[in-house]
């Protein structure tokens, strides 16, 4: 029996003829399918069946980026300044936000300030913000360690359109100094909060977050007499990872520095508004 095709020809009695027959089968096979470079990949990988290669060259965060661009366009259309507040848990983000909302509405009574609150669980923070007088939507990320642009887009839709143009939207991210650095939410700027009860070397321990931020708020400065925290050293370390980083020292509970923060927010909003005007001119 032929060993290649299993046909009835015997290779034992007629020697060379059977061998020729088998080789003919092999040549047929070669013509048929044994071209190792014929697949789409145009390469052969030993030990593997032919696979074809597909080029993708896509940013893994690209989908988030598209949602973020949508959010950014919506913020810009309403002249609304969106700030993404990031910090570790317990830095006083929500307390600072409540104090900032009060200070902003005192200084600029007509300004609409709204908040998107991100936490893994509970709506405690959104309730605190509403008690401070600003509309707030709570986003619970469940197991997630950060907000993403799609979540923010949905929360923003739930907030409803502001009556007035040119408001301020604070997005309080999940307390986490690592993951939120990567997810663009469509914000104009990230604001990182570092409290003096944390280590002054945090900017070097978590460089990506401090590199992504435009402003660093050093919070709880009223506690400086009681803790080992060198403000100048901390700022120097933060500027190692982000030479352009702006810094304001604040105390949410004592009100220190809140005026400077309010001024910074209004300056950012006006810059943002100017961008909007030039975008209109471009149209």
């Amino acid at each position: 029996m032929c060993v290649v095709c299993g046909c009835g020809q015997s290779g034992e009695s007629d020697g060379g003829q059977a061998r020729e027959h088998a080789l003919a089968h092999v040549r047929d096979k070669l013509r048929e399918s044994l071209d190792f470079g014929a697949g789409a990949a145009r390469v052969s990988v030993p030990g593997m069946s032919q696979a074809r290669a597909i080029q993708i060259e896509a940013d893994v965060l690209g989908v988030n980026g598209r949602f973020a661009a949508d959010n950014r366009a919506r913020f810009l259309a309403r002249g609304e300044l969106a700030l993404n507040l990031v910090s570790s848990p317990g830095s006083g983000k929500t307390t600072l936000l409540c104090a900032a909302i009060a200070a902003l509405s005192r200084a600029h009574p007509a300004l609409r300030v709204a908040v998107i609150e991100g936490d893994q669980q509970t709506s405690f923070d959104a309730e605190r913000i509403r008690a401070a007088g600003a509309p707030a939507v709570q986003v619970n990320t469940g197991k997630g360690c950060h907000l993403d642009a799609e979540m923010v887009g949905a929360a923003y839709a739930q907030l409803g359109a502001p009556e007035a143009q040119g408001g301020v939207l604070f997005i309080e991210n999940v307390g986490n100094l690592v993951c939120p650095a990567l997810w663009d939410l469509g914000e104009q700027a990230k604001v990182v909060i570092l409290s003096v009860t944390e280590g002054q070397d945090k900017p070097l321990k978590y460089p990506d977050m401090f590199a992504a931020a435009k402003l660093m708020l050093i919070n709880k400065v009223d506690l400086l007499p009681y803790v080992q925290f060198d403000v100048a050293a901390s700022v120097a370390l933060a500027r190692r990872v982000n030479p352009q980083l702006e810094v304001i020292e604040v105390s949410a509970t004592q009100g220190t520095g809140l005026g400077a923060f309010v001024d910074w927010v209004m300056r950012e909003r006006d810059t943002h508004g100017a961008q909007r005007s030039s975008a209109r001119v471009a149209e």
Partner: protein, 115 residues
């Protein structure tokens, strides 16, 4: 552990490619991980392996290629190589650096089997 979300993003890109290209299974997947991308390579590998059973990535070989971090140094006005955002310039020791490369996490490509 944002690497799990990133692994989900990787799977989504593979599924998008599957819709376009209609293949049977993935033989290998190549990712580029920038040193300045804030992505932990071993955590990403773990997340992908945890995510892949029952998906298109099941049984696929995963290749993670680390890309060198590159920055422009304002001190010496040169492109320099760094491994972290907290590194000084290896030439002049300044910290005035603007990262210009190695900041991305990318799916470079796939090899797939059609049967």
């Amino acid at each position: 552990m944002h690497e799990l979300s990133l692994a989900g993003g990787v799977l989504q890109l593979v599924e998008d490619a599957h819709k376009r290209e209609r293949f049977a299974r993935v033989a290998s997947l190549t990712l580029e991980v920038g040193m300045l991308a804030a992505v932990d390579v071993s955590a990403l590998r773990f997340a992908l392996s945890a995510l892949s059973p029952g998906t298109l990535l099941e049984g696929a070989a995963i290749e993670l290629v680390e890309k060198q971090g590159v920055a422009f140094c304002f001190g010496c006005a040169e492109q320099v190589e760094i491994a972290s955002r907290s590194d000084p310039c290896p030439r002049c020791g300044a910290y005035q650096l603007q990262p210009t490369g190695g900041t991305e996490l990318k799916v470079v490509g796939l090899t797939v089997h059609d049967a």
